[in-house]
């Protein structure tokens, strides 16, 4: 499959607000992204020409933002709406090994839907994790450094070398990944065994570090995880914001080269063009 044939569904509802830059990232690589409202997939309030079918796309993107205002809980409303009307299509999409990425609010949505961590099966009945309020109690917009810890499962990071530290900025108030307290350690070990942990927050030396390098107090400094198959990926930081070098926070000190986030989009595109 050629890049120009790859259709990317950038899914949104009210309050999704990072769709433009997510759209742009895929567009720049020559694919065919499209901003699609959830109602266009479920068929409510739309005309025949506006109706879309998830199975027509090769990549699904859940962008960042504050879907439905993050009321009730970050991502919960989007997740509940998706789960009630789109479960079957989503499961088929994921079983077909098509890639799904959730960035920031999108990660929260994937967790609330039960598509991540998805330790057994494609979608869990109830959420197995949560992205809770940051330890600081505040929204944190700051540069974060992520070390790739995934061995080779995740299709979104294949082009990033092992242990490479990438600058991918964060901007969220609820990014602390947590598991049921009594089983947290065990779950993290299982995630490691399954190669489901993708990125960890580190300091400039590449070491696991506390605030502010870890902006939220996340369990084991985890910034992003994938499902067992590696085709569903969620992370709190925003790779689409550093597609180019000149949106890095310190680019005037070292202006050359691509942005660190670009590799995420190139990796998944390579996967799709080679495998699908």
């Amino acid at each position: 499959m050629k890049a120009s044939q790859v259709k990317v569904c950038v899914l949104r509802i009210e309050g999704t607000n990072c769709e433009e830059e997510s759209f742009a990232a895929f567009k720049r690589l020559g694919t065919k992204p499209e901003k699609v409202h959830l109602k266009q997939l479920t068929g409510a309030d739309v005309s025949h020409e506006e109706k879309r079918d998830l199975s027509d796309y090769q990549i699904l993107v859940l962008p960042g933002g504050f879907s439905a205002g993050d009321y009730v809980r970050a991502g919960a409303i989007f997740a509940a709406r998706m789960k009630s009307k789109l479960s079957k299509d989503l499961i088929e999409f994921i079983r077909a090994r098509k890639p799904v990425i959730g960035i920031c609010n999108g990660f929260q949505i994937l967790v609330e839907t039960g598509l991540l961590p998805a330790m057994s099966g494609v979608m869990s009945e109830v959420p197995e994790a949560v992205l809770g309020t940051n330890d600081s109690g505040r929204f944190e917009c700051r540069p974060t450094l992520l070390r790739k810890v995934n061995r080779d499962s995740c299709v979104f990071t294949a082009k990033i070398s092992p242990d490479k530290v990438s600058l991918i900025p964060s901007a969220h108030a609820e990014g602390k990944l947590m598991f049921p307290l009594d089983r947290s350690k065990k779950i993290v070990r299982e995630l490691e065994d399954n190669d489901q942990i993708v990125f960890k927050y580190v300091d400039p030396e590449g070491n696991l570090a506390v605030y502010p390098w870890c902006p939220n107090g996340s369990t084991d400094n985890i910034a992003g995880i994938c499902n067992r198959e590696g085709n569903v990926f969620g992370l709190m930081p925003h790779p689409e914001r550093v597609f180019f070098r000149f949106t890095h926070p310190d680019w005037t000190r070292a202006p050359d080269g691509p942005g660190d986030g670009r590799a995420v989009f190139e990796s998944v595109l390579e996967y799709v063009t080679k495998r699908l």
Binding site: A76, I77, N134, M178
Partner: protein, 67 residues
Amino acid sequence: MADPEGKNTLKALELLGFEGLKDVKTVKVFDIVMDDKSPGEAEKRVDEMCRRLLANPVIHNYSIKIK
């Protein structure tokens, strides 16, 4: 369970001049008006609402009160 919102509210109250506060915990209440016939039926439906949207079992407990 960590409750940053509660902690911040405590601070705000102190800034307003309230003294001697020990702790603030936030609890979320959803007041749902429905016309189900029996309380049992209503409770069953609200329980489903909690599971499908209102609560995340990883960090939340919930209780239902029918009035």
